[in-house]
């Protein structure tokens, strides 16, 4: 279904230049990884707090509010570095099951983080049973863990 789309963006001048350069992919890949570290930090602070670990002396909402700009900022860098890697090597990703699995889980994790998780983290602590906070943190941790591991495996399989 997406075959024509992949065929189209792969032959754009930018994609061709990106593919032919010896260093561009490597540099973008390295920046992607630095952004992963920042993103992971911002995710972990809040998920650990939801699970009752880490910054447990702080209200959840405060931890989440402080982490939010770094979460959003690093996510933007991840998209800006992730897209050129796909554009330059469309075929490789199109035929990779691991890539598509990562994309599906990424979409779920993204929507979940900015809807359910966000609402739970912002909710009054008296209004929600600790179980729901823990479940929300554990789900987020699990989803993003799959995204990270699958991302690492794309390059290998």
């Amino acid at each position: 279904m997406l075959r024509p789309f992949f065929d189209w963006f792969q032959q754009l001048a930018f994609s061709v230049a990106f593919r032919q350069s010896t260093w561009m992919f490597a540099v973008i890949d390295a920046l992607h990884l630095v952004a992963i570290a920042v993103f992971a930090g911002a995710i972990l602070l809040v998920d650990f707090r939801l699970l009752g670990a880490g910054l447990k002396d702080r209200p959840v909402a405060q931890v989440a509010r402080d982490a939010q700009p770094w979460l959003v900022g690093s996510l933007i860098v991840l998209l800006l570095t992730g897209l050129p890697m796909i554009m330059g090597n469309g075929d490789k990703y199109y035929y990779s099951d691991i890539f598509w699995q990562k994309m599906v889980v990424l979409l779920v994790a993204f929507v979940y983080t900015f809807t359910v998780r966000r609402a739970v983290a912002a909710a009054d602590e008296g209004r929600l049973r600790p179980f729901w906070r823990r479940a929300t943190g554990a789900t987020s941790l699990g989803l993003w863990l799959i995204v990270a591991v699958w991302g690492r495996l794309i390059g290998l399989l």
Binding site: A30, L44, L55, D66, A67, P69, V149, L156
Partner: protein
Amino acid sequence: MIEAVGAWLEWVEALPSSTAIRESLNGYPALLALHVIGMCLFAGLVLMMDLRLVGIGNRRTPFSELQRRLFPWQMVGMVLSAVTGLILVYGQPTRFFTNIFFWLKTVMMILAGVNALAFHKSTYRFVARWEANPILPLEARSAGVLSVILWAAVIVAGRLIAYNWWELR
């Protein structure tokens, strides 16, 4: 000397345990994945602490609280990435020891470690005196900036090991 080291590395690489890691179909990807997870825990939480030191993130949490609450998790991440990293190097010693980015990463890790240690042995000892200030002392901010730069360099160099542009021989 270089020949002797080279011969020793080749001997290590020929050991059955080293060969087994290198050729393992599932073990090798699993090690790489665990190495990244360790990195996320360690570097992710160190960076969150650094942002507070620099004064651009997590500003409503006192620094000593971040240090106390995150340190155990940072150590879990460090042990995970160190152990998996050492096993990965053991599986391909000649590949890593001839790779310029591997040495760059090693040097950056040492510098980052020295920076963290120096901060804890000096500025951090008086944390109670300065952590309530709206702007942290220059020593604290510099340690934070240095830490971000050095750990980012470790991550970049680590990723570039895979792109062996300048092989040392």
